[in-house]
Subunit: 136 residues, 2 copies
């Protein structure tokens, strides 16, 4: 099992890479056969190619992720809350299969990352829905 | 599937009942065959009797739960962050299989609730570990 420090560092890297719009860097945090479910209830993206494609779309909008509170570490799982600030431009490029309103917004999300022995993320699940969209 | 409002109300009830030390009330939020894993990585409590026993122990310390940020609702799952303030007295009664320090502390937790059609919680998973214990 990766150490708590390794898992916390991976979460910090996720924020840094997302905010640097580095989709490849994010994809490299994942294991080859990882799954990404964002939001929970929509079909999972399976495998690194699908995950890279997802994040390539996701970072295009220039959304900014800001962590809310501590990264929780239990066993080989990290859970963390954050806000996604979206400026509102280019939303036709949105990565998620969810209707989003026009204009700028902050989406309030809680993600869970499950890690494998090598410290790679094997499963990401993003918890958010229409009521977690705060319009500005 | 229960409505978002039903799931949010169940989360609010969880906080209110915990802070009122009403273990039976909390147990009634769960389905008969529900599982509670607190923290993730320890053996699950399975079924309402085991869950009631767990919460009977958990509320004895007079811990106070304070939500941090919005309840995230995705599909039939609620995820929410909170702090558990523990005054430090009576920790021999602690419900979790985890070493806790002496003195007062706030434990930073993220829980997920999975709901069934009847709006009852079928699976609770609590994400926290030693590094999420903030000593005062």
């Amino acid at each position: 099992m990766p150490s708590s420090d390794q898992m916390k560092a991976a979460v910090q890297a996720y924020f840094d890479l997302f905010n640097a719009q580095d989709a490849q860097g994010i994809a490299d945090l994942y294991a080859d056969d990882a799954t990404v479910t964002d939001p929970v209830g929509t079909p999972a993206k399976i495998g690194k190619e699908a995950i890279l494609e997802f994040y390539t779309m996701a970072v295009k909008n220039g959304a900014v992720l800001t962590q809310q509170g501590q990264t929780r570490i239990a066993d080989n799982v990290a859970a963390f809350a954050f806000g996604v600030f979206v400026g509102g431009a280019g939303m036709t490029d949105k990565a998620v299969d969810v209707e989003l309103p026009a204009g700028s917004m902050t989406i309030h999300v809680i993600d869970t990352f499950v890690f494998n022995e090598d410290g790679k993320v094997t499963e990401m699940r993003a918890h958010w829905g229409p009521e977690n969209i705060e319009k500005h």
